[in-house]
Amino acid sequence: MGSGTTGDHGSDQMWSVQVTVMPKPGINDPQGEAIRGGLRSLDHAGVVSVRAGKSLRLMVAGESREAVEREAALMCDRLLANPVIETYEIHVEPVGDGEGSG
C-alpha cells in the first residue's frame, strides 16, 4: 500500500473533490438505456442518449490544489474507477473562506 501524500493534515486547507466515473464509450450501459427508455415513455422525446455513472464528492485535506488533484488521480487509478470499463474526471475546489465559485 503506497502511502498517501497528505499524511498529516493539521494545517492543511480543505478541498472539495468531485470525481465523476462514467462507463467507457462502447461498453454496454444497461442503466443508461433503461433511463433513456423511461424518459422517452414520459414524452421527453428530445432525449437522444443517456449514460449512467457514479458521482463521488470527497472532502480532502491537502496543501495545494495540485497535490489534491494528484492524490485524487491516484485514488481513481487504484480504487474509484475500474480502467477495464470506466473513465474518470476530477474537479477540485477549495472549501471554507477561500471557497471558489461553482
Binding site: 444497461p30 442503466q31 457514479k54 487504484r78 477495464v84 470499463i85
Partner: protein, 231 residues
C-alpha cells in the same frame, strides 16, 4: 487443506465450508481476510457474498484486503484458486483474472438454476470433467454480466480460457439461456495457466440432490481429491 477466505460481507463462506468439508469430505477451514500466510494450504476458495456491501463496484474494496497479495503469490506458484460469484468479481478487480463483471442486463438480481457447458477441461478445477459436459447449477447475482475489451475477449477465447458458458439443457448456446447479458455467454474464465478460475454459478450450492442438484461436485472434486491427502 482448503482455505475459504471470509471478507467483511462475504455470506457464502459457510456454504462453501459445508460443501467442501461436510459433503465432499475434504479438509477445509475459514481464513480471515487479514491472513497473510497461506503456506499451509493446497487450494484457496474466494466465496460468494457482498464484500464491503458491494460499495463502488463488487469486489472493488475487497481487492485491497491483506490476504489478496498472498493469494497472488499462491497463484503465481501454481496453487489452485477458485473465485465463486463475489469471489470471481474480486479476482477480476485484483487483475488475477481478465475482464470485469457488470450489472445484469435486466438490471435485476436473479436467483435460479441455469445450464452451463464446460468449454475447457484443462483447468485445475475442470480437469476431471469432459469438455462439452452440460452442468445444471444455481446462480444468484445482480452483477454477473461478464465484459472485456474486444482484444481481451478474443484472447480469452483463443487461449481456451473460457471455462464454462451459459447454454440450453442440450448444450446449445442461445440468448434465452444467458441470464445476465455476458459477452460470449461466458459464465466462468481462467487465467492463462489454468490454475485460477472464476465462476458466477455456485457449485457449492449444488452438491446434494435434496437441494436441487449435485453437478457442483464435478467442479469441486478434482482439486479436493488431489488435496485429500492426510493432513
Amino acid at each position: 487443506m482448503i482455505a475459504i477466505v471470509t471478507f467483511p460481507g462475504s455470506n457464502g463462506d459457510a456454504d462453501a465450508l459445508h460443501a467442501v468439508r461436510d459433503d465432499l469430505g475434504a479438509p477445509a477451514r475459514l481464513v480471515d481476510y487479514r491472513e497473510t500466510d497461506l503456506s499451509g494450504f493446497d487450494a484457496v476458495i474466494l466465496p460468494g457474498g457482498f464484500s464491503y456491501g458491494d460499495a463502488l463496484r463488487c469486489g472493488a474494496i475487497a481487492r485491497f484486503a491483506p490476504v489478496i497479495e498472498p493469494i497472488r503469490a499462491f497463484a503465481a506458484r501454481g496453487g489452485p484458486v477458485l473465485g465463486i460469484c463475489n469471489g470471481f468479481q474480486i479476482l477480476t478487480e485484483a487483475h488475477l483474472l481478465p475482464g470485469a463483471l457488470r450489472r445484469n442486463a435486466t438490471l435485476r438480481f436473479h436467483c435460479r438454476w441455469v445450464h452451463v457447458r464446460v468449454e475447457s477441461a484443462t483447468t485445475a478445477w475442470t480437469d476431471t470433467v469432459e469438455a462439452g459436459t452440460v452442468l445444471r447449477l444455481p446462480v444468484a447475482h445482480g452483477d454477473g454480466s461478464f465484459v472485456a475489451g474486444a482484444d481481451v475477449l478474443a484472447e480469452i477465447e483463443a487461449n481456451g480460457q473460457v471455462v464454462v458458458r451459459y447454454c440450453e439443457p442440450d448444450g446449445t448456446v442461445s440468448a434465452a439461456s444467458n441470464p445476465n447479458g455476458s459477452a460470449g455467454a461466458i459464465a466462468g474464465v481462467a487465467n492463462r495457466a489454468g490454475n485460477v478460475v472464476g465462476l458466477m454459478p455456485h457449485p457449492e450450492r449444488a452438491v446434494d440432490p435434496l437441494l436441487g442438484g449435485e453437478d457442483g461436485r464435478m467442479i469441486l472434486r478434482g482439486v479436493l481429491e488431489r488435496t485429500h491427502v492426510a493432513s
